[in-house]
Subunit: 724 residues, 2 copies
């Protein structure tokens, strides 16, 4: 090697420096701290390190760059490019050149520097690529998983050499990749000898080549013959009702397939506490529930792999999130203590367990990582939400609500995050509702009620038209799902049909009706949408001819009451955190949960699911828990930080907080009995009879409404706030 | 606590010092570095720490000791002794007292010091007890296994406490036992919560108590409710033919049961290479062989546990040894490379693998440890021999021969140990011998041949009488086992019936016969013991009426040749090591192997299985490999040292040594063509015609024998040495 040096500039980072003549561009990149990927360790096989050598004068850097300033291509490199012609489309170099960039592609591990060069590293050649997370927040994830795949040449054994295959592989990994002190999983050890035999090139004198997968720079978990760059991971949100999994490419971060399935544990109990009871009452309860969820996970993994055209044996890591009960049952841990105070967890720490020890049929030495738990009622799913939404990295005061049978709520900013769990019950998932059902085709998911006529229109899942845009017989509604019931109640309230205390307004009358009060005690009402029968009132959302089962879909007073209970718990939880955090308002609200992606922020706020906020800052972020699992799958630092973040969150036990009950009672009102909702007021969506602190204002509003009604229909009816 | 101090002396160590008044004897022992056991951590439950407080004046230490110099027994301690009265027989105090020692027993964790005391620590209360290893060497093993059982009280959880069961257990283990940074096996984590629930005393305010098993001060592998001191281990020698296991108490080191069984792999191939071939030829070969040996191990473990009245779930550790092929198959590693040069191992290092990953049905989180391997042909069994016989700890030059289908040989002393493997073939196990069989009832195991008459007598396994002490019909010999054929050949040689080149002596004649030469070519000879038929000679060991199958048991020229080949390989291996080590003679020979315990050192040396040595220094040590496994099971330091020792051993590859063939050819002679056997010469057991270097000496000996023969029978016949 000459002692001459040359100036090398890397784009887009702009990193530059003088390097010795004759070294490869890959070595130069490493010397200058430029991130260039490589699996094959410089054997011109993997193509991960390909770069573009620019041509021309670059006054900014004071150099003239040319493809001739590196040594010409050798046979191996030429063979690689013949097999894998670089796509011009991939060339996103910002540097203008006068030649077609395709001629400039080189493998940086092969190209030895003979003069000054300006090199562009395309995004696909950087190891820590970023992928954009789908969904509302669209924050990028840096791809840096806990696994690495490494291609190595292993010295052959010699007679009397006294080095086993594993010892020689360790030497190769130490020498080529700087890894020391590794251990090897028994499954990888079993594959090692056959892999070395199969990975032995037919050319004499060429050393056997294998690709290893190293977990956490600590353990070799697989060995494959030759070059093998398939490496996938699963991110799974194990919900009480639904299990949703993303199959990701651990090199690119791409989501190759998304699968979901019903959690088969529902046959043992709809809600968490009934499953805990099942475990307590049946000796084999835990093993049955455990086996059921593992079977479902295996099914999902198989389907996702098939859909993506991937071998399940190439799935080397899984990150699972779930609430504390799901977490425990999944690991085979007794959840009994979670059923009663003090709600003791088996462990708070993140858990790493071999896939084979869970019976998970991905790669047998794959690690399954479960994120940390925060508290008895705030599980790994909320830690997923925490790392996905990262309130602890915000300046603004952020409220994150993950809606489910138990809602978990996070509040805070970089100065501190508070969390609690709120016992909403399953109403938001369509349970405990007369015609409630899960979100599935046929379920009413959107509801609009005419403010004047009180007439409903709705949309069902799987049908793009609103109910009033098609003949009734085509609709075939089957029930109401969570988002449908929330919108229905909010709309009923906005139309004045429900009073702010949640009761049906007995003095409500259609703005286009006869003008007489429609209230006739103990008899059906003449209106086709609202009727009273003694103390039982109900609103007809879908007529018999609009449903699949030939009977009406109604919303009863009990349904409204259950939604009130659920939303009041949620609201009270939010208020509790705000009180502890010492803030009167929040800057931003993130509505998470599979639920969260289907509900309109306006309706949620009108219902009073959370305190007042600028509606433009209320965002439905979808399955944030699952996104968090994906982040932990793709980025080891974020994973490590999540355990720390989970410990730092200040957990509030709602059950023992003296203010919770008070906030809960106030929050039974729509949207709240005492708290102001200035943003809703400004939008004018609240009915006039909304609780006003003084009787005079209330009377004034009543007058105003009367006048508006008169304009609309020359009629007036003054609904009265009957708040207790 | 007072600031007064008192003098405390511990026997038998004699350690003493002043300690603060009020501390317990256990704390005093720890302060003074005295080894006193404890599992319960001072809760007066386990009784492991009981000591004897001596009474009287002890001028040697300048103190007066009395049981009154510690605080009186409390309720808990009294309850313990009521339940477990100390046996007076155990009291081996060398200190004379005037009271019955039984009154002086105290739990050292309970007895607080109020004055000067002299305390005797009985052997059963020391943690690092020693047990004497059975067998010839009788070296003690210090009991210090890699596992420890610890009894702890765990703080109960409180509402809002945010510490899981595992976090609180870690705190207890850190606080009471000083252990930090522990991890927990998933199986132990699964048991933790139920154990804490079950281990909660009914008395309010008393904390839950559990017993944990900690592996290598790193990992909690089990949690049991309350106090649980059962902890067992298995030491297994997985031989090609026989699997032998010891079930040991890991607290006392006692062998509670010994079980052995045929290695079921023999149905896939008698010798190792045929099993390797089976793996190569059958796609499921490895998994079949693996499953077979695991099933056998499970069977043995179950039987041993049943015999000892022990639960297999209390077996927390297993140490396995075996040759390299057995080792690989047991772990599910491909043994193909062991079938041909360069004899590459998958790994040389010791392997730790969870019992459940091998399918071994002991405690699922139990660790299975396989000792290191030395080389392609020198396996973990030889490392077992190495730590059992410890040539590397001797001043004397020690030769250790582990006889089997492949013999492994160790030679050396503390300045260095050399090893090699020698391809003896299966003749020593009775295979490749006309009437050979395994050591089993009916097999001839002992042979004596009258020097003068040439008449044999023998003993069969399962029959205490010699063949000439009982009617022929009672003997029912079925064949000859390894030790029988070795003694037979050695005796034939000593009687002059075999010449030193291994050929039957055609000119041999019974000292009491007609005096004429009995050699008649191509015809049966008149002697009833030796006959020639053309070039085929055979010696009749058992007559037809002495056998179970009604035909003679004979030893043919081919049988002798096979034994010669086997012993020559052994001898050549020994010589090779001696040459490399640069020694002309050895001080000590250890004959190991199940074989080794049944063969007489004299016969082995006369045959020339190993170079000349003082016969009183030749010892059959039995299954040293299995003993080594037991040592590694009972003592973690010895285990750790064994891996180092295995690396330090200088391995000689016999296949590539230029001298091996030469030594082998010389060693075909009985006992050897060129090497002197002064110890045998001195005993006068060698026949005169033994190869003498000069023709004159040979002639002289011939003359002498003629004279002796003349004295015996007035006849003479001069057998001639026909060495090539």
């Amino acid at each position: 090697m000459s002692h001459n040096t040359h100036q090398v500039v890397f784009q887009p980072s702009g990193r530059q420096g003088r390097v010795a003549e004759g070294i490869t561009l890959l070595d130069a990149a490493r010397q200058l701290g430029v991130d260039v990927d490589s699996i094959c360790g410089g054997r011109q096989t993997c193509g991960k390190c390909k770069v573009i050598i620019e041509s021309g004068q670059f006054p900014k850097y004071g150099i003239a760059s040319s493809p001739d300033h590196v040594m010409p291509m050798g046979e191996d490199e030429a063979r690689y490019f013949a097999k894998h012609p670089p796509s011009i489309i991939n060339h996103q170099s910002s540097v203008t050149t006068d030649q077609l960039p395709v001629t400039h592609y080189r493998l940086s591990c092969a190209a030895c520097i003979t003069g000054d060069v300006l090199v562009t590293v395309p995004p696909e050649s950087t190891r820590r690529r970023q992928v954009v997370r789908k969904g509302a927040s669209d924050r990028p994830i840096t791809i840096d998983p806990i696994l690495r795949q490494m291609f190595v040449e292993v010295e052959p054994n010699v007679l009397g050499g006294r080095k086993g295959d594993w010892e020689r592989l360790q030497e190769a990994l130490s020498c080529e990749w700087g890894l020391a002190g590794l251990r090897i999983d028994i499954h990888a050890l079993r594959r090692l000898t056959p892999a070395l035999r199969a990975g032995k090139p037919s050319t004499p004198g060429v050393k056997p080549r294998v690709t290893v997968v190293v977990w956490d720079e600590r353990e070799v978990i697989d060995v494959r013959p030759g070059f093998h760059d398939a490496m996938y991971g699963l991110a799974v949100d194990v919900g009480s009702t639904t299990i949703a999994a993303h199959l990701c490419d651990l090199h690119t971060g791409a989501v190759l397939a998304t699968e979901s399935a019903m959690n088969p544990q529902v046959t043992f109990g709809e809600d968490l506490m009934s499953r805990v009871s099942y475990v307590m009452m049946h000796e084999d309860g835990l093993s049955k529930l455990h086996a059921a969820v593992v079977a479902a996970l295996n099914d999902i993994a198989t389907k996702a792999a098939r859909r993506a055209g991937v071998n399940t044996d190439d799935i080397y890591e899984a990150v699972l999130v779930g609430n504390t009960v799901m977490h425990h049952i999944l690991l085979g841990l007794d959840p009994t203590e979670l059923g009663a105070a003090p709600f003791t967890l088996a462990t708070h720490a993140p858990v790493d367990v071999k896939a084979r020890d869970l019976g998970l049929r991905i790669h047998p030495a794959a690690n399954v990582h479960l994120l940390a738990l925060e508290a008895g009622h705030v599980g790994a799913d909320n830690v997923g939400v925490l790392i996905a939404e990262a309130p602890d990295r915000q300046d603004e005061m952020m409220l994150v609500i993950d809606v489910g049978t138990n809602a978990e709520i996070l509040l805070g900013n970089r100065e501190g995050v508070w969390s609690c769990s709120s016992p909403t019950g399953p109403a938001f998932e369509g349970a405990q509702i007369t015609h409630g059902q899960r979100a599935a085709p046929g379920a009413v998911e959107r509801v609009r009620i005419d403010r004047v006529t009180g007439r409903p229109r709705f949309k069902v899942i799987g049908n793009d038209l609103w109910s009033d845009e098609q003949p009734p017989g085509q609709i075939k509604a089957t029930g109401i799902c969570g988002s449908g019931i929330i919108e229905a109640v909010a709309e009923l309230f906005m139309a004045g049909i429900l009073k702010s205390d949640g009761r049906f307004n007995e003095s409500w009358t259609s703005g286009v009706g006869s003008g007489e009060s429609v209230l006739v005690a103990d008899s059906p009402l003449p209106t086709s949408y609202l009727r009273f029968n003694g103390r039982k009132a109900e609103y007809v959302l879908a007529t018999a001819d609009q449903t699949a089962f030939g009977r009406e879909i109604v919303i009863t007073q009990d349904d409204v009451r259950n939604i009130q209970l659920a939303k009041a718990a949620l609201y009270a939880g939010c208020k509790l955190l705000m009180r502890r955090r010492g803030v009167a308002r929040v800057d931003k609200v993130m509505l998470a949960g599979a639920f969260g992606s289907y509900i309109d922020p306006l309706h949620a706020m009108v219902l009073g699911m959370f305190p007042d906020c600028d509606l433009s800052r209320v965002v439905a972020v979808g399955n944030a828990a699952g996104d968090g699992a994906r982040i932990a799958l793709l980025n080891k630092s974020r994973r490590a930080e999540s355990a720390q973040a989970a410990r730092r969150v200040h957990y509030i036990e709602t059950a023992i907080d003296p203010h919770f009950q008070e906030e809960f009672v106030n929050a039974m009102h729509l949207p709240n009995r005492v708290d102001p909702f200035p943003h809703l007021e400004a939008l004018g969506v609240l009915p006039d009879e909304r609780s006003a602190p003084d009787e005079e204002a209330r009377a004034r509003r009543r007058r105003e409404r009367r006048e508006r009604s008169a304009v609309a229909s020359s009629q007036s009816a003054a609904p009265e706030d009957q708040a207790p």
